[in-house]
Structure formats: C-alpha cells, structure tokens
C-alpha cells in the first residue's frame, strides 16, 4: 500500500513473536488508563501519604528535628508498625485507583463490542486477560510496593544506626504483601469490569464486591456465633496477612486471627472465581451472537 498511490501492497516485513501480543494489549491498556487526567490525579493523591511518611521518617531519623517537633516521644519510631500503617494506606488507595482504571481497560472494549475484532487477531482469551492484567498490575505497582520499597530504602539510608539487616523482612513483607493484594485486586476488578458494561457502575460494583461480602460475613458470624464468617472480610484477611508478612506480633481482635492456610485459601478461591467469571464473560462476547 502507499498513501500516495492508493493501491494495495501485501506486507512482507518481520512480525513479532506470538508471546509478545499480550504486551501490545498491556501497552495500549496502560496508555488508555493513563490518558485520563483523573488517573493522574488519583495517583498523585495516592502518593501524598508517602510524602507524609517520608517527612515522618526524616523527623524520626534526625535527632535534632525530632527533639524540636515531638520531643522525646516514641511516636515517631520507624518499625514494622510504621510500615504496616503505610502499607495499609497505600493498598487501600490502590483499590480506589483500580476501581477507576479497570473499567477503562475493559469497558471500552465491551461497550463498543470490540472483542470479536480484537480476538480475531492472534491473541487468545488468556492473552487478552493477561495483557489487561499486566496493565492494571503495573498501574497499581506505582502506588503500592514501588513507593513502599523506596520508603524502606530511604529508611535504610537515613537511619543513624545499623538498621537494614535487622529489618530485611520488612522489605520482603512490603513487596509480598502488596504483590498479593494487587494480584487479587486486579483479578477482582477485571472480572467485575467484564460483567458490567457501564464504567461508573463498574467502579461502584468493585467497591461493593470488596466490602459487601465483609458486611455479610459479619452478619453470618453474629447470627451463627462463629468467627468463620469473617473469612468473607477481605480487608480483615489482608491486614492479617500483612501483619504476618511484616513479622509483627499479632494484635487486635483474636477472633479475626485466622491461619495462613485459611487466608490463602480464601484469596486463591477469590482469584479462581474471578478467572472463571472473566473466562465466561469474554467467551460469551468473543463472537457476535445471533
């Protein structure tokens, strides 16, 4: 083909490997997600707590500044508890970001019935989901484990006493805890987005899917006088998991302290359910029916 000659010529150049096709979807997905000013705004907001944490770490590590601002209080001690709080804040802000981005990644394709044309190219259903999943996980990484590990590195650098080697588990906990959360969250968000055609409703549905089962679980526990209903409470489960990964001593309501096996079983079940929903929805829409 030629723009000027207006005739058709077959393409005879090189082609990329099949395994790279999901990366095309991820690249265009990232571009779509980050093309919105609201996304940029949400990311900036999500990073503000890190700036506050950074200031607190500076104060904690600078004896003069600490003396001037908070006196001899231990409030500003940078330890597992400090990073647990930072992680909780970042991970829940990631939920807000995911609820905004995920529908943008999927709803445009569903709204305009683009799946038949997308999947008529050499991309499988799995490749399609993988591409969108990568885009979402990368987006959420910017506000979770990446800034958290940067905070950890700053603490390693700023601490006046040897600190790093005694607290390496915090680094592992920050990465692993955030990774587990954003992997599960991404699958939940994509599944919900594939189910709901309208973006605004999808955003609301994502919050509902995370928090409504928690309420139901609370009711089940109260009515049946059992603690197992709390297994439906994803926020509680994640907090429990983060506490363990950061190497903290358990605290809070002992009824909510489940075994790691129970926590991972629930998270895996949620992930599998999300994958099943995604597969069913995309399969239903990959061809035009009727």
């Amino acid at each position: 083909m030629s723009v000027f000659e207006h005739d058709y010529k077959p393409y005879e150049g090189p082609t990329t490997a099949l395994w790279k096709r999901p990366l095309v979807l991820a690249r265009y997905g990232l571009s779509e997600a980050w093309g919105s000013k609201i996304t940029i705004g949400l990311v900036v907001l999500a990073l503000l707590p890190c700036v506050v944490d950074l200031v607190l770490m500076y104060l904690a590590n600078n004896p003069v500044a600490k003396m001037l601002v908070v006196g001899g209080s231990k409030v500003l001690e940078v330890n597992e508890r400090f990073f647990f709080s930072a992680m909780e804040v970042q991970c829940w802000l990631a939920l807000v970001l995911a609820a905004w981005i995920a529908p943008r990644l999927v709803s445009f394709d569903l709204g305009d019935n683009a799946l038949p044309i997308l999947l008529s190219h050499p991309v499988s259903r799995f490749g399609y989901v993988l591409g969108k999943f990568i885009a979402l996980v990368l987006s959420l990484s910017y506000v979770t484990w990446v800034p958290l590990l940067l905070l950890f590195l700053y603490q390693c650098y700023g601490s006046p006493v040897p600190w790093t080697f005694g607290h390496l588990q915090i680094a592992f906990g920050l990465f692993a805890g955030a990774a587990v959360w954003i992997l599960v969250l991404s699958l939940i968000c994509l599944a919900v987005s594939s189910w709901v055609k309208w973006r605004v409703i999808a955003t609301g549905a994502i919050f509902a899917v995370v928090f409504v089962p928690a309420g139901i679980g609370g009711m089940v526990s109260a009515i049946l006088r059992t603690r197992w209903g709390f297994l439906m409470n994803v926020p509680v489960l994640m907090s429990e998991l983060w506490i363990r990964l950061l190497g903290m001593a358990p605290f809070g309501d002992p009824r909510l302290q489940f075994s790691s096996t129970a926590i991972f079983s629930v998270l895996i079940a949620v992930a599998l359910l999300s994958v099943l929903v995604l597969n069913a929805r995309i399969r239903a829409r990959e061809v035009v029916r009727g």
Binding site: D7, P10, Y11, V24, D112, A114, H121
Partner: protein, 322 residues
C-alpha cells in the same frame, strides 16, 4: 490446495447441530458465502477463525487446521465482522495501528501500514477523528482497513455492505474488486445480497440448514449457459418441459409459469415455439439471458441434498421442479 477445505465438518452449539458434516474445497480467489438466516454462515466463519471448536471432522484454512493452528490462521487472516466492532474512544489511525500490532507488525511498521490502509479505503482525511464520530459507512470502512493493514493472505468479510447507502455500497464493492484484482490475497465474503456476491466473487458456497446446498464456480457457470432462455408460459408446461428434455435440452420449471431452458447448439428458438404448439403450452414472454447467481441460489434452496459438482455438470441437475 484449496483456500478452505472442509472435511465432514460438524459444529454443535448448545446441543444443536449448526454445521452438519460439511465437505468441500474452495479454491476461488473470491468466494461468496450465501445462505438464508440460520444457515450457518457466521458459525462457519467463526469456526474457521477458531472461535468454535469443531465437534467432528476438520476445517483447514490455507492448509492450517482450524482446531490446532488457530493462532497461525488468525495471523494469516483479516476479519471484518458484520456488526459494529471497534473501540470508539480511539482515533481511526490508532485503532488500525493497534490491530496491526496485534497481528504482529512492529509498532513503526504498524503505524505506517495503518496510514496506508486508511488512505486506501478512503478514510485518510478522517484518520485522526475518534471512531465514535464516524458515519455508518466509515465504520464499515475502518473495519476493512484494520482487516487489510497487516497484509493477510485471506480476507474474511462478513456482510461488508450491510447498512450502506448505494454510493457507499458501490465504493465498498469497488474496493473489494480492486483487492481481488490485485491478487495477493483470497477473500471469503459472506452476504445475503446476491448482487454483491455476483459482482465480486468467482466461486460461491451456498449453505442451507447447516448443509452445503451448492458449491459453484460462478464464472464457469456463466460460460456454460450461453444459450440460456427464460420464458413465462401458460398451459401444459409439464408436457412442454418433458418434450424439450427429449430433444436434448436441460429444462427447469419454476413457480408462476417460469420455465428456463438450456438448449444445445443444434436447436433454435423456433423449436421452442413448435414444441409449445405441439404440447399445448403458450409462450407469453421469452428472453435470452445468462444464468444469474440468483438462479444458482434458488436452485440450491430447492434441493435437500448436497450439490457440490463442477459447474458444467451442475446446471439444472435434477431439473428443478421440472
């Protein structure tokens, strides 16, 4: 080797047999896919693209098995779906580039080909506009552009003129003819408009209730029926048809007294009048014309069995109602 080879292909969806043991080989450069609603046209296309798994038999596209080589098939095929299917939030050039990259073109080559494809189909001036602002005709053209951009070996067009006004339809038909003439790719065109298929295709596959009703080479069909005569008659047309067949003609009767006759070179129109007079039939109207795709289609719809024979054998096999 044919472009598409079907061997006892059976597809069941929701417990219902949609394609029932299709067997045949399509070799034409532009193959028309015809059939009434529910005949299985879309199911066949979706099976060829690997969206539906054959429950029996096999289908090969460009020598690749639709069951095991679906990614390689999709690599070699450009598909233009019937319904609206695009990302309305994207500009035309970005959408076509996206699709080309999904087909394996490197980003820079994909961008170049996207521009070229859009100019080729006539959307060059609107390529930076969002697709959601395009008219229906433009949306059809952008689907064609994305199907062409990666230089496929087989182009599958599902109802390409659907919903187009006469000018846009003519433009689309012209484009298809140009692509066919260029010759580097094969085409499978599904349409319910016989005229579109007639103008653009050299071979036709007619489906009926999930079976192949006919596979016909349109060009050969036309060449084999130079003495094709259509008449409107009253009276004893049955006796007329039988008499003409004894004279060596192929004869078919249709509703409303329509009779079609293919005469050997030794006979002339005078013989028609003489036979009509002998058998008590009256010729009210007579015209010489070439066999049209409509005739092939109507004949195929009248048969219950499979008609997949060479064109010279196929004409009036069974004699229609006659």
């Amino acid at each position: 080797m044919g472009v598409i080879a079907l061997d006892r292909l059976e597809v069941r969806l929701g417990g219902r047999t949609v394609l029932n043991g299709l067997t045949g080989e399509l070799r034409g450069h532009a193959v028309g896919l015809l059939g009434p609603n529910g005949a299985g046209k879309s199911t066949l296309i979706n099976t060829l693209l690997g969206f539906h798994e054959p429950t029996g038999g096999s289908a090969k596209v460009l020598g690749l098995d639709a069951r095991t080589d679906r990614m390689r098939i999709r690599q070699s095929v450009g598909y233009m779906p019937e319904n609206d299917s695009f990302i309305g939030n994207m500009s035309g050039v970005r959408f076509v580039r996206y699709m080309a990259e999904l087909s394996g073109l490197p980003p820079s080559a994909a961008l170049e080909r996207a521009h070229e494809a859009l100019f080729y189909v006539g959307l060059g001036e609107v390529r930076y506009r969002k697709i959601s602002t395009y008219s229906l005709g433009m949306k059809q053209l952008i689907k064609l552009a994305q199907a062409l951009a990666h230089g496929p070996k087989l182009l599958i067009l599902d109802e390409p003129t659907n919903g187009l006004d006469p000018t846009a339809r003519q433009r689309m038909v012209q484009l298809i003819k140009e692509i066919r003439k260029e010759g580097s790719m094969h085409m499978l065109i599904s349409s319910h408009l016989l005229r579109d298929i007639d103008e653009t295709c050299d071979e036709v596959l007619i489906l009926k209730k999930g079976n192949i009703a006919a596979i016909s080479n349109i060009e050969e069909e036309r060449r084999s029926h130079r003495n094709f005569i259509e008449m409107e008659m009253t009276g004893n047309t049955e006796a007329f048809a039988e008499k003409m067949q004894t004279l060596g003609c192929e004869c078919a009767r249709f509703a409303g007294g329509r009779v079609k006759v293919v005469m050997p070179d030794a006979l002339s129109q005078r013989d028609l009048y003489m036979t009509a007079a002998e058998t008590g039939a009256e010729i009210r109207r007579i015209q010489t014309r070439r066999d049209s795709l409509e005739d092939i289609f109507l004949r195929a719809m009248e048969y219950d069995g499979v008609q997949a024979r060479p064109a010279h054998e196929q004409a009036f096999v069974g004699g229609g109602k006659g």
